[in-house]
């Protein structure tokens, strides 16, 4: 087990190292003078912002220094939590801007991922080898999983927000309110949360249902299932065993799908102008705020790595083979 975690942590550490290096390399790969072109592209009006930006870029890139010391300086700044100054939200530091948006994104993603995983697995397990249910779950699942996240978000937004007018279509809370711990504010928060949550939930649901259905069919064909059936075990029992075995690849699948789910959350937030990381990225791109883009990239990678590690821990708890040091997890 120590070896299992050691391997995982090594991969994650390596991944973070690669991500940071990519983040450092890309501005330097850009043809031409990065400082001048970035200042020009930012097209900001405040002169003090331009000056600060120019100074900051030159300082950060340290273009007069050797590449190696530039690279180490980059790491040193990272370790102290210095991601630079946001241009869009000048003069707020990038780290603060991102940390302000993270709770909204997590509040949207975590319930959507967990619930869609649970409901999807349940629906898929129920549908497997049951003609009538299978004929509805399978096509619906395929349509949902092929739907782009933003399109389902747009449809929900249009249907419930504009045509029916029952739910708000933009923002994380009513624009008339200030963030506070009052019931009114929490109610508004919940109201604005429903539609983005629903769109994330629906698209993810389809994939889990299909995956689970296929796994259950596979497990029901396995020798142990046939053996149980030959012994005269009740169907419920066989299916329960099949489910427990089929859940393991679905946990691995959750880790594999994290990137896709993050991408889905980002575009969904953009549709609903939800004040999370996704909307932040849109603003950063529109304002050519490269520090903010680079900062969100590192935050997303970090978040995905942490989530991966949590899934690894869950896997060890669920699958006894990893604890016994046998081959179990393949991620």
């Amino acid at each position: 087990m120590r070896q299992y975690f050691g391997r995982k942590l090594f991969i994650y550490g390596l991944t973070f190292f690669v991500a940071v290096t990519v983040n450092w390399l890309i501005p330097r790969f850009m043809p031409g003078d990065p400082v001048a072109s970035m200042v020009a592209r930012a097209s900001i009006s405040q002169p003090e912002a331009v000056a600060a930006m120019q100074a900051y870029y030159t300082d950060l890139f340290g273009l007069d220094q050797s590449l190696i010391s530039q690279y180490f300086n980059f790491w040193a700044a990272l370790v102290t939590g210095d991601f630079g100054i946001s241009i869009w939200a000048y003069p707020k530091p990038v780290a603060d801007v991102i940390l302000g948006a993270v709770p909204y994104t997590l509040g949207l993603m975590i319930p959507a991922i967990l619930l869609s995983w649970l409901v999807g697995n349940w629906a898929g397990a129920l549908a497997a080898r049951r003609k009538l249910l299978d004929n509805t779950v399978l096509p619906v699942g395929y349509i949902l999983t092929a739907t782009p996240y933003m399109w389902i978000a747009i449809l929900l937004c249009w249907g419930f927000g504009v045509v029916l007018g029952v739910l708000p279509v933009a923002g994380g809370y009513s624009f008339a309110l200030q963030p506070s711990w009052s019931w009114e504010f929490i109610g508004s928060l919940a109201q604005h949360w429903v539609l983005p949550f629903a769109s994330l939930f629906l698209v993810a649901l389809g994939g889990w249902a299909i995956g689970m259905r296929n796994m259950i069919i596979y497990e029901l064909e396995a020798d142990y299932s046939n053996y149980l059936a030959a012994l005269g075990a009740p169907h419920r029992l066989i299916r329960r065993y099949a489910f427990r075995n089929a859940v393991l690849p679905q946990i691995t699948g959750l880790a594999l799908q994290l990137g896709v789910l993050v991408a889905g959350a980002l575009v969904t937030e953009i549709v609903f102008s939800y004040p999370g990381i996704g909307s932040l990225i849109l603003k950063a791109i529109q304002n050519k705020d490269f520090f903010l883009i680079q900062g969100t990239f590192l935050f997303i990678v970090l978040g995905v790595l942490i989530a991966n590690f949590i899934i690894d821990v869950v896997y060890v708890v669920v699958d006894p083979r990893t604890r016994a040091g046998m081959a179990g997890a393949s991620t």
């Binding site: 092929a146 782009p148 504009v162 045509v163 994939g207 995956g211 594999l256 896709v260 789910l261 575009v267």
Partner: protein, 301 residues
Amino acid sequence: MTTTDPVSTTTAPDPGTPPVSVRREALYFAVRNGKLLVGATIVGIFLLVGIIGPFFYDQSPMAYVGQPMLPPSAEYPFGTNTFGQDILAQFVYGVRSTFEVGLLGGGLAAIIGMLVGFVAGYRGGLVDEILNMFTNVVLVIPTLAVLLIINAYLGIRSVAMQALLIGLTSWPWAARAIRAQTFSLRGRDFVDLARLSGVRTGRIILREIAPNMSSYLFMTFILLFGGSILIASSLDFIGLGPTDGVSLGLMLNHANQWSALMLGLWWWFVPPGIGITAIVGALYVANVGLDEVFNPKLREL
């Protein structure tokens, strides 16, 4: 975007059966498989729209042809947007670029995945360790996040460039699946025989191993194809799409940006979404059909 675990949905083909009868048998089951037929038909129709549509429907997608915000009519079958651009023309060109991104991005990802998967699986040992580690690292980094910063800095302005970057980042799961398949084929007698008779590694992979998992490779390509389309549409929607072209994702981006929802211009944002969903969904369904054709275990269900 798909949440189907590609590794588990496509089951491995059974290697080692004579190829001629397999091919005939596959054809026999292919024309009788409803899923494959429906999926392939839908993809085929959209492909036709993308290829010959722009010749038949002779309207420039960017030109301001008519009154703004016209609902669908005989003159403009899909209506016009807030700028008075013809939405059907945009749709037809958008479908074309959707297939371009899928083909180029999915194709490149499949090639890289095969290269890494074959070499890692066949060679084993240290080569495998290194390639596997590389694969795992690329696998964990969220694809869209990488594409985001690359696109933001380089300012990707063509469909081909976008597809290239998607291909370079979305191959890892394919490499892993192919590696596992290669691993199981490596110890077979016919591979040993080829090795004993002095055939070079590249040739063994190309002549002995790849043909025995060709159906699997094809299905991997289809899944990568669909995945590339979805990633590209997300990028377009965020505003990092090709600027000198039209795409379905870009149409959604414009519709959202110019508040088509508030104005009730449903004919602006419904067609591109249907296009993407239908193409990708049909690809997945056809893939399941193919799986049933190639894998006898799944047939009688």
